[in-house]
């Protein structure tokens, strides 16, 4: 029986996988060498993963990351070479291979599925990240230019599942891919979204430098009464990356390469523009935003040197005409690329790439007597990022990549507000012990300043080795990462007689000023190894396997040699099978780990000021406050990585110029870091006074020893690896073929995401309930609850109707965000019988059996926990539309009009049947792109 071709292919795969690549199958015919590069005809960027075949033979090659392919021993003579890649039109070119000689053939490829007339305004779902096979959207510069984007966050709106927002710097922008907000009401420690918690993270890499928010300490904590505009404790603020500098963004929602660590929710890989490009000037004007940017890239010395320069300034006023609140950003970026060997045999054996970025981001909310009296705040970040990358071609098959980066951000935040409180006893003691305090009486203006300098060193050593056969291609990768993050600075500073937290009740206390210099920081490292195999099966089929493992290490102390605190082994694998060029099937599994933030590793000591004597009299001379200060260290020595697993499967298919992509995923994160309130108690002494007569002008003194003592219950905010998050969902992208007669096409992205956050810890209800318990000495107990679970579910679609008139340079894009369904639920029982037990005044947890909770003796414990008591059926669908009209200008410029929420849909307000959903109000503006080089040079 003769096996079928399919059976032979399967057998060939098994043989290959078990026994490795076969030896050379070269024949006796004369041969020559054929090599070349394959690039995108529009962007001229190299295309990786293109299958190149010499028709009539079984020779197959795959392009590497630089788009290169090589047939070292191809049969001499005239042949047709065929280049194929999903999403691109197959290209066939004739080539004459000389016997015993070498010929070079560069092949351009053009996109078929998504682009018409050279204008792309949507994310490209076909393209793959350069480093892997995981599900991704690739957003090229042409799409960014039509997106009216000020920040990286604005650019990411082209990805499935991301809601639209008006461009600008108006609010902190954080992202957590493949998750949706939950209620955020049952437990304040969970936040509402994964982006609110530093334990979760979408990695953002800019030019190879992983941005980090781990060292951001610009917060007044969860007990502060003053607020700062800060991304501390959450995800990276995407406003720091200007859209105008971006060349390409890979939004890796699936399983990323093992190159990427410190993440739980995917990765966003940003490349800024480099090399030679036309000078560009951009101006953007709207009622809220002003932005100007300029960029230029030049080469000299035969192309061996290339310099790039970016300048970007943007300002957003959040309420123009009403307040002077404004966010400002200035970015200056300089780059230099040096290729010593360029121009010689067209080989770039050694490449030096240097980048220097300086940026400021200010969020200023000055006092406005008309709107906000006696209240102001400001946050200012000034930072530099320095990067040096060296790529060395050790051999045609082996490359060495070395990079080092250093980034430092000077963060200074201040807040001022009038606090209105009655007379309260305070103490300025910074050590444990008892001393006489003082009274703060009446309203006062509290000022607080926070100054930190998050600094990061990141280094990478990586070797890439390629092995090629006639039908297979191995791409081996191994690397070592070193990372160190620390945050010196003056820290949190305020006048202790006018503290920024005055809800003082004698036991909660207020946190003291804290210098950041004493905080050790984080040292981490990682090693990884990965192989990516491309294997041609038959004439059209292609199998790709990318598998590797990464070992993340969190070190103790300040160095990489001071012992291990936590280790995570993170294997990752992606499989992709292309049975025919128009269909791609894929699946993957991977494990991820996210570093804990410095604020979680080294939380501030908690101060508890127990009031022993509180004699407030009209005569200041008779007043006496005596307080005992206790200090508790909430540090958790066992704290480690948050860990996640990702599992996904999907397929992509193209029919003609239409394209469909569907992905199903399940992400599970375990041990995410969050504050876990831990009950305990303090011993409070009571004293007799030497004089307690009011009005005699004599200041009393305490009589030792204490007359009595009691206990005061407290909660210690100790971080722990205990939060779980599960995300499941489906993503779909459909790009329909252009309706030629109308020059219009429809692009659709949709996602269903369900997120479940669970915190199996002990909770004590609203904060004021426990603080009341602390004060009311007659109260012997309050209830506690175990666990919090919240879910969010969202079905979100975005439709982009793109109309183009290339002859007059007109592009009209109507983008509709369709919130098909939203629902958030507190799964945790919140009824009055849901309590688990009670906590006593000495901090003991006493469980109450479920069947006894209705008994009369527990009536004082039957209280509502808080959160949504009513489960609704979800919020019905609603939509809003944004509009962008681009018109080409002479000399390569464009004029854009954009309007966000152009119909000013306000959304839905909460009813008894559903929750609310608000859309941001309409905004609109103009944007002008000019190419001064074309103008001065008399271009088109």
């Amino acid at each position: 029986v003769t096996p079928s071709p399919r059976t032979r292919s399967v057998l060939a795969i098994l043989v290959f996988l078990f026994f490795g690549p076969p030896s050379s199958l070269g024949g006796q015919t004369p041969t020559g060498r054929l090599s070349g590069t394959i690039s995108d005809v529009d962007s001229r960027l190299p295309l990786e993963g293109v299958m190149v075949r010499i028709e009539g033979t079984r020779l197959v090659a795959f392009t590497d990351t630089l788009g290169r392919f090589d047939f070292p021993s191809a049969p001499a003579g005239r042949h047709m070479v065929r280049a194929e890649r999903l999403g691109y039109a197959t290209n066939r070119v004739a080539v004459m291979i000389p016997s015993g000689g070498t010929i070079r053939k560069d092949i351009p490829m053009s996109v078929t599925a998504l682009r018409v007339e050279g204008i792309t305004v949507v994310a490209d779902p076909v393209a793959k990240p350069k480093t892997g096979l995981g599900t991704a959207s690739v957003i090229e510069r042409t799409a960014i230019r039509h997106q009216t984007a000020t920040t990286l966050g604005d650019v990411l709106q082209l990805s499935p599942g991301v809601e639209f927002s008006a461009p600008g710097l108006g609010a902190i922008e954080q992202i957590a891919l493949r998750s949706t907000p939950t209620t955020g009401t049952t437990s304040s420690v969970l936040g509402r979204s994964a982006s609110d918690l530093a334990a979760f993270g979408t990695l953002v890499v800019v030019d190879g430098i992983p941005l980090s928010n781990n060292g951001n300490l610009q917060t007044l904590g969860n007990r502060g009464e003053l607020f700062l505009t800060t991304s501390a404790g959450g995800g990276i603020d995407l406003r720091k990356v200007p859209a105008s500098t971006i060349e390409r963004v890979e939004v890796i929602r699936g399983i990323p390469s093992v190159r990427y660590g410190d993440l739980t929710h995917g990765a966003v890989v940003v490349e800024t523009r480099t090399g030679e490009f036309e000078a560009e000037v951009l101006g953007r004007l709207s009622a809220n935003n002003h932005e100007v940017s300029a960029s230029n890239g030049t080469t000299f010395s035969d192309g061996r040197h290339a310099t790039t320069l970016f300048l970007d300034w943007a300002r957003t006023k959040t309420q123009p005409g009403v307040s002077d609140d404004a966010a400002r950003r200035l970015t200056v970026q300089a780059g230099h690329r040096f290729i010593p060997g360029s121009g010689v045999d067209n080989t770039d054996r050694l490449v030096f790439d240097s980048r220097l970025v300086f940026f400021t981001l200010t969020d200023d909310r000055p006092e406005n007597p008309n709107v906000r009296f006696n209240r102001s705040s400001s946050s200012k970040d000034r930072g530099i990022r320095l990067l040096e990358r060296i790529d060395l071609e050790l051999s045609p098959e082996t490359n060495l990549h070395v990079m080092g980066s250093f980034s430092r951000t000077y963060q200074r935040s201040s807040s001022s507000a009038e606090l209105i409180r009655s007379a309260l006893p305070f103490t300025n003691r910074t050590e444990e012990g008892r001393q006489e305090g003082f009274f703060v009486i009446g309203p006062y203006v509290a000022d607080v300043e926070v100054e930190g300098v998050p600094s990061t060193f990141f280094g990478r050593l990586e070797v890439r080795h390629e092995r090629r056969g006639r039908r297979w291609h191995h791409d081996l990768l191994g690397g070592l990462e070193l990372r160190r993050e620390w945050t010196p600075g003056e820290g949190v500073q305020f006048d202790m007689e006018r503290p920024a937290q005055s809800s003082f009740n004698g036991v909660e206390g207020y946190d003291r000023p804290r210098a950041f210099d004493e905080i050790p920081g984080i040292s981490s490292s990682a090693v990884y190894v990965e192989d990516r195999l491309r294997l041609a099966i038959g004439d059209e089929s292609l199998l790709q396997v990318q598998g590797g493992v990464r070992v993340d290490l969190l070190h103790d102390g300040r160095s990489w040699f001071s012992g291990l605190r936590d280790v995570v082994l993170a294997p990752r694998i992606n499989l992709e099978w292309t049975p025919v060029p128009s269909v791609r099937l894929r699946t993957g599994f991977g494990r991820l780990a996210k570093l804990p933030a410095i604020s979680d590793l080294y939380p501030a000591p908690q101060y508890y000021d127990v009031v022993n004597v509180n004699q407030l009299t009209p005569d200041p001379a008779e007043q006496l406050a005596v307080l005992t200060t206790f200090i508790r260290d909430p540090e958790n020595p066992d704290l480690g990585f948050s860990q996640g697993t990702k599992l996904e499967a999907g397929f992509e298919a193209s029919v003609g110029e239409s394209f469909l992509s569907v992905s199903v995923f399940e992400d599970r994160i375990r041990g995410a870091v969050a504050i876990r309130p831990e009950p305990s108690f303090l011993l409070r002494d009571h004293f007799q006074l030497t004089d307690s007569i009011i009005g005699n002008g004599i200041k009393p003194e305490i009589v030792l020893p204490p007359s009595s003592s009691d206990t005061v219950p407290i909660l210690i905010d100790r971080p722990g690896n205990y939060v779980r998050q599960d995300n499941v969902g489906i993503e779909a992208i459909v790009a329909f073929q252009e309706i030629r007669a109308l020059r219009t096409r429809l692009h659709l992205t949709g996602s269903w995401v369900k997120t479940r956050m669970e915190a199996p810890a002990t909770f004590f209800g609203p904060a004021d309930r426990f603080s009341g318990f602390q004060i009311q000495t007659a109260q012997t107990r309050v209830p506690y609850w175990v666990g919090a679970a919240e879910t969010g579910e969202k079905v979100l679609a975005s439709y982009r109707l793109i109309h183009q008139q290339p002859s007059i340079g007109l592009v009209v894009t109507a983008a509709v965000q369709h919130n098909i369904y939203d629902k958030v639920v507190d799964e945790t029982a919140t009824d009055t019988l849901a309590f688990e037990g009670y906590v006593t005044r000495d901090g003991r947890l006493v469980p109450v059996p479920e069947e006894e909770r209705g008994n009369p003796e527990y009536s004082d414990l039957r209280r509502s926990r808080g959160g949504y008591l009513l489960e609704t059926g979800g919020t019905p669908g609603d939509w809003m539309m944004s509009l962008q009209v681009s018109k080409s200008l002479p000399f390569g410029g464009t004029l854009n009009f954009w309007a966000f929420n152009v119909l000013d849909n306000r959304g839905l307000f909460a009813t008894i049947k559903h929750q609310s959903r608000f859309f941001s109000p309409m905004q609109f503006g103009l944007e002008v792109n000019l190419a001064p080089g074309a103008f001065l040079g008399g271009g088109p």
């Binding site: 005409g321 007597p369 119909l903 306000r906």
Partner: protein, 537 residues
């Protein structure tokens, strides 16, 4: 014989019917262009007839459009399907202008002093062999320096739902209008659609009681036409829809302010704001269906169009309310006819338009309307041009009749104003050298109202302060004189740069027996514009 576009471009003369200011011509204020270039706009008002202001603005056609007036299903009736056959060649214009309006002769809710900077891009073109497209973008930034009280875009329109404050702080308006459409011929059948949106934002700057508003006005139109006899007779029908969402908020946390909500002649709802924020929404929704007939008799192009109009508007408290507190319902009809051709070397364009709107205002708890109005406007406009070898002469003029009856049942009073507006504009121009040409125009118009107005003393103080002066203004005679000029530099075949300016003054002319609350003084408008036009057959 029809006008040669190249001929008109070369001499730089354009005489169109009296191009009244935007409110009068019935297009959004940010649009600018001669009347016939606005009829196609999907954004033109539906069942709304903004008040005629005394005087007419400077000829907005100077430089922006140098094509002969269009007549047809599209140009006269606004049916986008007509584009496929009525747009020939290619035209594009870019204009930047500044406008300054000052003077005390104005109704109380008009800004005292206003300076605008406006950029306009307008063009049309054939799209392939069977299609044609048109588009316009207008960007306008206006700074109001004098007292400005109104928090709605157009306080003197048919819709009586007006909100204003008593602080009158200076404010800035930013508006963008963007509209376009396409039409395609499929044999004798033609289909077309047009859509547009106008967006506006207003905010005070450094005001003790800051005000901010935003407005979104989307609109769309679809149409079909059938050519009964090729190039001789065609019929068409179209439907259009327009919406307006206007949100306003006034913050008064320190300085006290008072907000009035006008709704007729009755004492308006009043809100004293101290340490709070007031938010209101006014939303409207309108639609129209129309039929057209267009044809050619000899050398004359003819078109007749009619539309049935309906529009609802409602005012809501706050930003969250879903039930209205005032509701305005209006319906009406419009008819327009145009004819153009050439007679004895004189090109002519004549148009007759008429529009009526009847509306009623209701409150949630009253079964019968509290306020009703009946409004109508008829106009006869003509445009004559004649060219000799080196110089050219044109005359345009017309007669407009505007009538408005209103009765407020709550207070039992009404008004009845009928206004006649005769107007004429003569313009002459000629070549200056080989590449330059210049033109100058002089115009005069009169505003002659008569009728009855409520006796102010019988009504409340808000009426006396804010409503009566407005009615007196519109009930007073006035005269307007205008002078316009343009200098043109020809670049190459069909394209030129232009510099244009104009001055207009409106003065009351019946000072012997003025109404008691008529404003004093006069009002002037100054404009300066620079632009580029290109036209290809």
């Amino acid at each position: 014989m029809v006008f040669s576009r190249g001929f008109l471009v070369a001499v730089g003369l354009s005489f169109f019917p009296i191009c009244l200011n935007a409110q009068v011509s019935g297009v959004p204020e940010t649009a600018s262009g001669p009347t016939w270039t606005d009829t196609w706009s999907p954004l033109r008002p539906v069942a709304n007839l903004p008040r005629m202001f005394p005087g007419f603005s400077l000829d907005p056609t100077v430089g922006l459009v140098d094509s002969p007036p269009g007549v047809g299903l599209f140009w006269t009736g606004g049916n986008p399907a007509g584009m496929a056959r009525e747009i020939v060649g290619e035209f594009s214009a870019l204009e930047m202008g500044t406008f300054r309006e000052t003077g005390d002769y104005r109704p109380p809710l008009q800004p005292g002093e206003e300076t605008s900077y406006r950029g306009t891009v307008f063009g049309w073109s054939r799209l392939g062999s069977s299609g044609a497209g048109i588009g316009r973008v207008v960007v306008d930034r206006s700074a109001v320096d004098g007292p400005a009280f109104s928090q709605v875009v157009s306080p003197y329109s048919s819709n009586p739902l007006v909100v204003f404050d008593t602080v009158g702080a200076p404010r800035n308006w930013t508006a963008v209008l963007i509209e376009g459409g396409g039409g395609w011929a499929l044999g004798r059948l033609s289909l077309g659609m047009s859509a547009g949106v106008e967006v506006r934002k207003m905010s005070t700057d450094g005001a003790p009681a800051p005000v901010s508003t935003r407005t979104s006005l989307p609109a769309a139109s679809v149409g079909a036409s059938w050519e009964i006899k090729e190039n001789v007779l065609a019929i068409g029908t179209h439907a259009r829809w327009g919406e307006s969402k206007h949100s306003l908020g006034q913050f008064s946390l320190v300085a006290p302010s008072r907000i009035y909500e006008l709704a007729g002649f009755d004492t308006p709802a009043m809100h004293n704001l101290v340490g709070t924020v007031l938010r209101r929404r006014i939303e409207s929704d309108g639609g129209a269906v129309g039929v057209q007939v267009a044809g050619r008799v000899g050398g004359m192009r003819l078109a007749v169009s009619g539309e049935l109009l309906e529009e609802d508007a409602a005012r809501f408290d706050g930003s969250a309310a879903t039930s209205w507190k005032d509701r305005w319902e209006a319906d009406g009809w419009s008819i327009s006819a145009g004819a153009a051709g050439t007679f004895s070397r004189t090109a002519y364009h004549v148009s007759v338009t008429g529009k009526t709107v009847e509306g009623s205002l209701r409150l949630p708890d009253t079964p019968r309307p509290t306020f009703r109005s009946e409004e109508a406007r008829w106009s006869l406009l003509f445009d004559l041009r004649r060219a000799w070898d080196a110089w050219h002469l044109g005359f345009s003029g017309g007669l407009i009749r505007d009538s408005r009856k209103a009765r407020d049942g709550a207070v039992g009073v009404g008004s009845d104003l009928r206004t006649w507006i005769p107007a004429g504009l003569i313009k002459a121009g000629g070549k200056v050298g080989s590449r330059w040409s210049a033109s100058l125009g002089l115009g005069v118009s009169a505003y002659v109202p008569h009728g009855t107005l409520p006796e102010p003393s019988a009504l409340g103080t808000p009426y006396q302060e804010w409503v009566a002066p407005g009615l007196s203004f519109f009930g007073s005679q006035s005269t307007t004189t205008t002078i316009v000029g343009r200098l043109q530099r020809h670049l190459n075949e069909g394209s030129f740069l232009f510099f244009a300016g104009g001055f207009s003054r409106i003065s009351p002319s019946d000072q012997a027996f003025p109404l008691p609350t008529t404003p004093d003084g006069d009002r002037t408008l100054l404009s300066l514009r620079i632009g580029f036009c290109r036209s290809r057959d």
